[in-house]
């Protein structure tokens, strides 16, 4: 594996190998000294051209727990403000000694261009409404920890599918690992380009609510136009929100996942959000573990396998 840019087309063995390594790094995170020397001397650059707190922190925590050094880039404080191009910015950071770049950008495809320009291993930290592969891995790890395997699981992804890079990555990872995925959203929040997605589609949540082993709630993304395509927040909550009443109607062992940040009162009410079956904080912890696995696999070992 040279880069981790997308979940589409990634082989099952690759996903399983990353999840298996992530299990070991999860154990490392729970040791008294949660740090290993695996990537000593390597430098990971986190190039976040779109604001992010948790994903950036998570990658940086992962890099440091592997003893790598971190170059941390934020657009607000950079020469982008002075008009420097994306290409010049990443080449500058490469010239400072970065060995790998994590790239988040509002434009679809930006991480691919960075990989081309720099020749470095690149991890897509989220590009536009396109892909967010490490999110899919951490969600897969969370499901695997709970159920042992994703094989045969029924998973609903509910909400703003149209603007969601999380949905676009998770659909592929979950289905490759053997789960059956149903996308549930009002027609206006379904993407027009779903040809070939390995998932069923439903525009109504209530009739199918009790069929799933896991419900994956997406955030309504006002910044990508998500709020303008349904009449009101109250109506969204009425039809698709994880209210107390809906939570009661789930199968007793169904778990609820959310990529964060959760907007309580829209996608999820406080009762379900604070229930032990809501795995949001486990997802956050697992995010560090899978990112350690990704950095370790991209920077550790010779690259004869691809």
């Amino acid at each position: 594996m040279k880069n981790l840019l997308t979940m589409e087309g990634v082989k099952k063995e690759t996903l399983e190998s990353l999840l298996s390594d992530a299990d070991e790094f999860y154990d490392v995170m729970h040791r008294p000294i949660p740090k290993v020397p695996a990537l000593r001397g390597k430098t990971v650059a986190t190039m976040f051209f779109e604001p992010s707190t948790r994903t950036k922190l998570s990658f940086e925590r992962a890099a440091k727990a592997l003893s790598a050094d971190v170059l941390s880039f934020s657009p607000g404080t950079s020469s982008l403000k002075k008009g420097e191009s994306l290409k010049d910015t990443v080449l500058t950071v490469k010239a400072m000694g970065a060995d790998l770049m994590v790239v988040r950008h509002t434009s679809t495809g930006a991480p691919w261009r960075v990989a081309e320009w720099t020749g470095l291993p690149v991890v897509n930290g989220g590009d536009g409404a396109h892909q967010h592969p490490t999110q899919a891995l951490l969600d897969s790890l969370t499901l695997k920890q709970h159920y042992g395997s994703l094989e045969g699981l029924r998973i609903a992804i509910v909400g703003d599918i149209r603007h969601s890079r999380v949905a676009r990555s998770n659909v592929w990872a979950f289905s490759t690992l053997g789960a059956r995925v149903t996308l549930i959203a009002p027609p206006t929040l379904l993407p027009p380009d779903m040809e070939g997605w390995p998932a069923d589609v439903s525009t109504d949540l209530d009739p199918v609510l009790d069929q799933f082993d896991a419900i994956y709630l997406l955030r309504v993304q006002a910044e990508r136009g998500g709020a303008s395509v349904f009449p009101s927040v109250a109506e969204y909550r009425d039809r698709f929100g994880m209210t107390e009443a809906r939570f009661e109607r789930l199968k007793p062992d169904t778990i609820v996942l959310h990529p964060g940040p959760m907007i309580r009162g829209i996608e999820i009410d406080s009762g379900p959000a604070d229930d032990p079956r809501c795995k949001v904080l486990e997802q956050v912890t697992n995010g560090v573990a899978v990112r350690m696995a990704v950095l370790f696999q991209l920077l550790g070992g010779t690259k004869e396998d691809e």
Binding site: S17, S20, D21, D23, E24, F25, D27, V28, R31, I33, K35, V36, P37, A38, L39, L66, F296, Q297, L299, G300, G301, T302, E304, D305
Partner: protein
């Protein structure tokens, strides 16, 4: 491939090592056997069984994976990580690391670092089936099944029945430059 130790030779060597471990440590109090993944794992289990048989008390066994502690990640293919599992706290314990072959010493260095990240053992000793020489670090074994003079171009294979279906040690001549 030339056989240098048969299954029986190996069994006898392990039994002798078990006695040496008891002799050196004046018993088995506070002793923990830790195999280095992969073949050190079953070898540690077997030594623990022998020690239990001789001393009459159970010996805790663990396994350590050194994948996160290697110093050659830029020059060797990546190997999938395996679990590191130790039987409880190792602080103050006498650990006997167990591996199949002692060669450059780098694996042992990595295993020592891995142990140090988990706890502070009182003493760490090393048991190996074969010491083939060519050390690159100041490391030596406390218990050796067989000292086997080799050249760099030769390859030593230790098989254990739990993994390979049979026991024994073989020496294989190799073309110059293809040695690992």
């Amino acid at each position: 491939m030339r056989s240098v130790m048969s299954g029986e030779d190996m069994a006898r060597a392990l039994r002798r090592i078990a006695h040496e471990i008891i002799e050196k440590n004046r018993g088995v109090a506070d002793l923990v056997l830790v195999g280095i993944r992969t073949r050190g794992g079953p070898l540690a289990e077997r030594l623990a069984e022998l020690l239990t048989e001789i001393e009459g008390t159970g010996i805790p066994v663990g396994i350590v994976d050194i994948g996160m502690y290697r110093d050659d990640i830029d020059t060797r293919p990546r190997i999938e990580l395996g679990p590191t599992e130790l039987p409880g706290d190792i602080d103050g314990k006498t650990i006997v690391l167990v591996d199949d072959v002692l060669y450059t010493g780098r694996t042992i260095r990595a295993a020592l670092d891995a142990l140090a990240d988990i706890g502070r053992a009182e003493i760490v000793q090393l048991a190996v089936v074969v010491d083939r020489g060519h050390r690159e670090l100041p490391i030596r074994a406390d218990f050796v099944g067989k000292n086997l003079p080799t050249s760099h171009t030769e390859h030593v294979t230790v098989k254990v029945s739990e993994i390979d279906g049979e026991d024994g040690v073989w020496l294989e001549g190799r073309e110059r430059g293809s040695d690992e």
